[in-house]
Symmetry: C2
């Protein structure tokens, strides 16, 4: 195969990206070759910058560019409500709803005895320490609605209740806009249990 070596190197690196196979890598590489230098170098710089500038918030473990992330620094947020998520990537979808004005705490994973992930591998001690602040009124547990997420929620719930802080969990039920016909049994079961008055 005769491909310019710099192009081959780019193809190899692009194929490491999640969801990028040989065909997409080729499409992206040729786009880069055909696009003006400025646009392409801006992407390369943004990649390097993210690795240099982004670290973990010392309070909530979300991505941050300073010691504290923008949410922990904000005076417009309700610091008495803490939403606990597994990963930083779980924060943007919650932010997009506009339904939550509190702050977050990122665990950095979920309890998984099978994979050897125990309470000490997550930022649970740091969460409990935050709860010693008497202004914290409620913790909303927003771990994933799967086995690991539910296990983590149950564990956290016990720990937090013993501190006398209110603990809630995101509701399970039918996705809005979904078809009842295609709902799985567990989701539908939860939706029936959690039915509300009309």
């Amino acid at each position: 195969m005769f491909v310019a070596p710099a192009l081959q190197k780019l193809l190899d690196e692009l194929e490491r990206l999640p969801g990028v196979g040989p065909k997409s890598a080729q499409r992206i590489a040729y786009w880069m070759l055909n696009t003006d230098r400025e646009t392409v170098v801006r992407l390369a710089d943004a990649i390097t910058e993210v690795k240099d500038a982004v670290r973990f918030c010392s309070r909530c473990f979300n991505y941050a560019e300073d010691d504290l992330c923008e949410i922990c620094r904000s005076h417009d947020r309700d610091h008495g409500m803490i939403c606990v998520v597994s990963e930083p990537r779980d924060i943007p979808p919650i932010e997009r709803t506009g339904a939550f004005k509190g702050v977050y705490h990122v665990l950095g994973g979920e309890l998984s005895p099978m994979d050897g992930v125990g309470p000490d591998d997550l930022h649970i001690a740091e969460l409990l320490r935050r709860l010693s602040d008497p202004s914290v009124r409620e913790v909303i547990i927003a771990t994933n609605p799967n086995v690991e997420g539910e296990t983590t929620a149950a564990y956290l719930s016990r720990q937090i209740k013993s501190l006398g802080v209110r603990v809630t969990r995101l509701a399970s039920g039918l996705p809005v806009g979904g078809d009842l016909e295609f709902a799985d049994e567990v989701t539908l079961g939860r939706a029936i249990e959690a039915r509300r008055e009309l």
Copy 2:
């Protein structure tokens, strides 16, 4: 939306890539944040390097890192056979077949009166100049099997024949491994016309 500014910038730049929407951009960005710095910077460097190192071969207009591309420089290729393609991206699939040992000529597009692309916009004059070398025995036209590609092939064929050089075109027919049932009429018609003795 609270996202670390460097992360937001990376997301914006990633979304410019072909085939990368907001979800894939987010998946790639979080992968970059969770991957060791060395791997990620290697990609950023490969991107910049490709823009700095890669230019067009002065003979065939394929991508090259020197004045001539690796194929034009090679002593293992048959320089008497020239395969004409529309774009550099058409070369790797032909190379992968292993069925062609000649050299290439990249037109840089296809004739398209609708889009205002005429013969002077493509590297046709340069191709005809290459054919003045008496060692050239055959030109294989491998433009795309669509309206623009066929128009370009017909145009080139007239020009090249007038120079007394043999011109051939890639065969059209059923894709190997395909289902006859799903073949379009034009392809099937060509396959019948070009049927061969068994």
